[in-house]
Amino acid sequence: MEENILKRIITIETRDLNCSLEDGGCGECRTSCQSACKTSCGVANQQCENPEFSADTEN
């Protein structure tokens, strides 16, 4: 996990959702119920299929 660190604030490196307006939208990801939920909506738990953005799912 990389962070940008200010003195009192640690900013965890995250995908910028506003920027993903430009670099997202390929639609190749799975629908959320294809994994393990089946009875909820786990969109945030999904992975991006674009290798540029999918590397950090250790938990």
């Binding site: 959702l17 089946k38 909506c41």
Partner: protein
């Protein structure tokens, strides 16, 4: 909009539009909240009163504990659902550097300014807990930090994508839930499908399964990755058709320039050597149903004779996973009001040697003994905190496991298009019955009000698809005002329908649990990242 909360000794600020996550000390926590509503000077004034030299120290605006919503669109949801006052739990391993402002690792922030490493900063954050006063100079630096984040679009960011909600969406189909069996060899107490039968339908013929593959190919223009979930009922009751459908899809995927990814969801009773060999070769994911401890599992997951499935399936699951070669799988269960201490069930499954776990809250009808009630929320929220702590402890000990709802890819993860589209039910994702009927998803199967057509004649022009496309989170004022909207995408339409009678309704219990899970997942990610630096 931001969401500020304290959990497991961390002060966390989520910036909703940018997706940024900030871990801050107490002063910065108060400062950011104050800055949003009062601006720079207002924040300074408040912090001088709260933390300034020579003053009686207060606590700024944040209060001492609990979740807090800020952002001018507050919705009164803050606090009251089991969040914890910061206090250092789980942080004892990060106290090895007293100087929070050193440049030990030489890493830089967005402006190239060198700063301290995660350990020293975290120690600094901890040292601020309850005892910090700041000078005017420190205050100037803090405000500068906040304004630097604002300038980089990482704090108080405006949504650049809200106009997407007004655009007509017409996404292609890309996934099918193939109900190859409306029969089941179990009789689970919480089954949403009525003992797995969905009101009837029997087994899917091979020709119907093959036609479903063709239907998916025909309606997925522009998509290469196609997902098919063999579901039921119990799909292994129709294993020959599962195999036949896979073989057919493999034959046509190259010529159609598609890539099929299959998932098998099974209760495990019929797993044998042949199934293991087939599933581990062809299934990109297998979902194996187990609810945890023997007594938990067997109280709900019963065979027709009333006995439980635990002893029959656990050895089979172990063998399948051992031979899986690292491919995806989940041990997936349901918790109910009968096992509110569900963390003991998750831990039990981890102790069995499984590392990919999912345990979902039951969504039961009013009157059911399985139904989780609002009164259960505080305890359940504590359970989710406990789960995160246990996962962190085990990770440090070298025997970690993953929990589906705590899997967050912060650096990557879904783009905003995905987050606005939600699960895709009714458009990108459809369920197919053994007779070839189409429904928005597996949870609507058998409900005539949601019959969307069939795989031969296609999606009917009856407005159901459109109603799901328009059912995004921006269609609900409650969601627009909620900080978690880009994590849940408006939630599960089936849960909303079954709870409120409308797919546009709000399943409040589910919302509260979801928010707690996301808070816990993010805190765990942060703590896990800090641990990795130690």
């Amino acid at each position: 909009m931001i969401h500020a909360y304290k959990l497991n000794g961390l002060n966390i600020i989520l910036d909703i539009a940018s997706g940024s996550v900030h871990c801050v000390d107490d002063v910065a926590y108060d400062a950011i909240i104050a800055y949003e509503s009062r601006g720079s000077e207002g924040a300074r004034e408040l912090l001088r009163a709260g933390y300034g030299d020579g003053d009686e120290r207060g606590n700024g605006e944040s209060g001492g504990n609990g979740t807090r919503e800020s952002g001018g669109r507050g919705n009164g949801e803050s606090g009251g659902h089991g969040t914890r006052e910061s206090g250092g739990r789980g942080n004892a391993d990060r106290r090895d550097n007293a100087d929070g402002r050193s440049n030990a690792n030489g890493r830089s922030n967005a402006n190239g300014r060198s700063n301290a490493d995660g350990r020293s900063i975290t120690n600094n954050l901890e040292s601020a807990n309850g005892s910090q006063r700041i000078s005017d100079g420190d205050l100037d630096e803090l405000i500068a930090e906040i304004e630097e984040l604002i300038s980089h679009g990482k704090l108080f960011a405006k949504e650049a994508f809200s106009n997407l909600s007004e655009q007509e969406r017409d996404p292609p189909l890309k996934a099918l839930c193939l109900n190859v069996s409306h029969a089941c060899n179990m009789d689970c107490s919480y089954c949403f499908a009525g003992r797995g039968e969905y009101g009837g339908g029997g087994l899917m013929p091979l020709e119907t399964g093959k036609r479903a593959i063709d239907f998916l190919i025909e309606n997925s223009e522009g998509r290469r990755n196609l997902d098919v979930d063999f579901f039921g009922g119990e799909p292994l009751l129709n294993l020959d058709v599962v195999k036949g459908v896979v073989n057919y899809a493999r034959r046509v995927e190259q010529s159609s320039e598609k890539l099929f990814r299959f998932t098998l969801t099974t209760n495990g009773l019929l797993i044998d050597d042949d199934v293991i060999e087939f599933a581990n070769r062809e299934m990109s994911n297998v979902v194996l149903s187990l609810d945890g401890r023997r007594e938990t599992n067997d109280s709900a997951r019963r065979l027709p004779d009333g006995s439980g499935s635990y002893d029959a399936v656990v050895p089979k699951f172990k063998e399948l996973v051992a031979r899986r070669g690292g491919k995806d799988y989940y041990i997936r269960g349901t918790y109910t009001r009968g096992n509110l201490d569900f963390v003991n069930d998750v831990v039990h499954m981890a102790d069995l040697g499984f590392t990919e776990l999912s345990l979902e809250p039951a969504v039961a009808r009013p009157g059911s003994p399985n139904r989780l009630e609002m009164d259960d929320l505080p305890y359940l929220c504590e359970q989710y905190e406990l789960l995160a702590s246990e996962m962190l402890r085990r990770e440090k000990a070298g025997n970690g496991f993953r929990f589906y709802h705590y899997m967050l890819d912060l650096r990557g993860g879904p783009c905003v298009y995905k987050r606005l589209a939600g699960c895709g039910s009714g458009s990108e994702y459809l369920a197919v019955t053994p007779k070839g009927e189409l429904y928005p998803c597996h949870q609507f199967v058998g409900d005539d009000a949601f019959l969307m057509g069939d795989i031969w004649s296609g999606v009917a022009d009856n407005g159901i698809r459109e109603s799901f496309l328009k059912n995004g989170m921006y269609s609900r004022p409650e969601c627009v005002a909620c900080w978690a909207r880009l994590y849940c995408s408006g939630g599960c339409a089936a849960n909303a329908y079954h709870e409120t009678g409308s797919i546009g309704g709000i399943y409040r219990f589910g919302c509260e649990l979801f928010k707690k899970r996301i808070e816990s997942a993010i805190a765990l990610k942060i703590q896990s990242g800090f641990s990795a630096h130690d």
